[in-house]
Subunit: 207 residues, 4 copies
């Protein structure tokens, strides 16, 4: 029976990795096997590791942009008959091709695919991986967190050591040395000029 592709999305620091590790734990507790994937780009730690701020960590299989999820899972499945679920951390870093492979894994290999990631970067721009996960996942599930004002946080702001918003730089620093805070849209607009630019300074439209 075909399984589903899930995308658990949220702002930074909501507990995505905790939820991922808990879900994997639940599968294993019930006698099913899982595989964990994390991007190699994450250099916070030695080797690909899924790390939760609350104090949990676990080794994972590393992936970069040339990694074939479909091939890897297909191979693993010949050995592990009980492989029922794969879980992908930082899934906003996936390519379109890789998200399509996850779709195929769920529907052709009958393995549930749980992905966890951000929706937009520090300038509000959509990530490639999230764009296709949001378009194709059979289930979109929000992991909620809060802005300092108490409203739900949905956006990410990059800050320097003094806590001042940074609005220059590349998308991939997301997991480098930069710090991030998660805020509601109202505070994102206040702190980052990009949303105003998108709304009022566009030269061209794309319909």
């Amino acid at each position: 029976m075909a399984k589903k592709l899930y995308f658990y999305y949220s702002a930074m620091n909501a507990g995505k990795s905790t939820t991922l590790l808990q879900s994997s734990y639940n599968y294993i507790e019930r006698g099913m096997q899982t595989l964990l994937f994390a991007p190699i780009i994450d250099e916070r730690f030695e080797g690909p590791t899924i790390y939760s701020r609350i104090g949990l960590k676990q080794k994972a299989i590393g992936y970069d942009s040339s990694f074939s999820f479909f091939e890897h899972v297909q191979n693993e499945k010949t050995n592990k008959k009980d492989l029922k679920c794969i879980l992908v951390d930082e899934a906003h870093f996936l390519s379109k091709e890789q998200v399509a492979q996850l779709v195929e894994i769920a529907n052709k290999l009958d393995v549930a695919v749980l992905t966890y990631g951000l929706r937009s970067d520090f300038l509000g721009e959509a990530f490639e991986g999230s764009k296709y996960l949001l378009a194709w996942a059979e289930e979109l599930v929000e992991i909620k967190t809060i802005c300092h004002c108490g409203r739900k946080a949905t956006m990410n702001v990059r800050v320097d050591e003094e806590g001042t918003p940074v609005t220059q730089g590349t998308q991939v620093e997301v997991l480098g040395k930069a710090s991030y805070i998660s805020v509601c849209m109202k505070h994102f607009i206040d702190m980052v000029p990009e949303m105003d630019k998108y709304a009022f300074e566009a030269e061209t439209t794309t319909v």
Copy 2:
């Protein structure tokens, strides 16, 4: 108080327009005013009209790619103090700029913004409007419908008069003379070769 941007997404023929008209009705019944928007591109009917297959219809304000939602709503609000909500049909056709304006309407004009649209087109490709609604909306809500197999339908297939899948053509025919059926991802893969291509024939990746 800042209001929210909602994106009600679903496959074709799920009842998006019915839900839109019901929500507008609810606001008006409680003494609040609304504005309805529909794309001018929809030539099914005379003038911009929101039409529900179940038998409801209502005139709407037409928008094309050069339409400024922010300006329009800001002006209307000076007249209508009770304007509390705007509702946008076929919101996948919005430009990035227009979605950013909807974000600003919710957060600066304190008007709730309810948008309704598809996630992906007949080849599985993401729409521009949906890409940014999925990235920025404070609430993503699915309107469910079913595949002919009984599973949830999440994808759209364009079919000709004989019901054969069509995999050539432009995205905007979506609202022209083409017919569509909504299917689950498994049947989408069976009927449309594009998802296999995305997964296994990509030359380049985009991380």
Copy 3:
């Protein structure tokens, strides 16, 4: 394959019946058959009818407290091979026994069961049907509506002709001559003294 029991819950006047009729329409449009059920207690109209404030209506099979859903659906299914879904309006009026039958219909007869109803009555008390639908339904889905203050409405207040809250009377007048408004919890507490009583005047506890 076992199907699911769904409970679509909301406050009064949110559009539950509209959603029910749309969902039935979707099934039929895809070549599947449905059965609609409405309580006989509803005397607003001639015969059991599902009526939507927005202008839709449709005949339904009437049920009272002695009606056996399981027997009825089992019989119908021998004739209608394509019976894939039943839809139950005003489902808060169901008995525990009847909700259990709906569970069995989904799991033993492989027919999807979509129920629509309120969570609590005009004094905040839980309905018998809702109590068990909320406990057993595989999917709980909220149909949102708004309070006059703009917040989400989750509670129901009975009002007289002058719009004054009524806090005396029986639960079943819900569908009689009484009028109702749907409000957020904050306004419910302001308008109806019961919640304060539940919180601060209880003589006994029930753990």
Copy 4:
């Protein structure tokens, strides 16, 4: 501004306590304070402790059936200006009175209330606390877990040392020496005769 009462519900062993501890962590990380509550009935550990199977634990304030949440939170709030959220574990054990107090805390003391608990016991019967949380919470959020068959688990089965279902005993053993497994409704019906009894052997109805 009034805050909301949330009920995070799930079957046993889904990760409710992990989610609770993560949410508390998120509040504290953003400079807000929280209070944690756990039932004294839980004798698994010394003192009231919120324990997560995945390896997290934290001390909590104990509550029994005579505990006044409203009074406690009101007092705490005079000292802690930054108290923004309380989190209640095993919330199915609450009394109606206590759930009503949580409603008042959210709406009158402007403190968010996050509760975590089961919907039904080992015989499928609704818990008192869950009955009113499901009726009154402004947000119902499911924490998903899986049955051994791969479907979503929504029901709880009590088992003895050999893993045989137990269908005799009291509701409160839930947290005693009994073991539990979480299953989908189809497997619950197969393992526990109660649902069939509810559906087909009822002598009286309760509409």
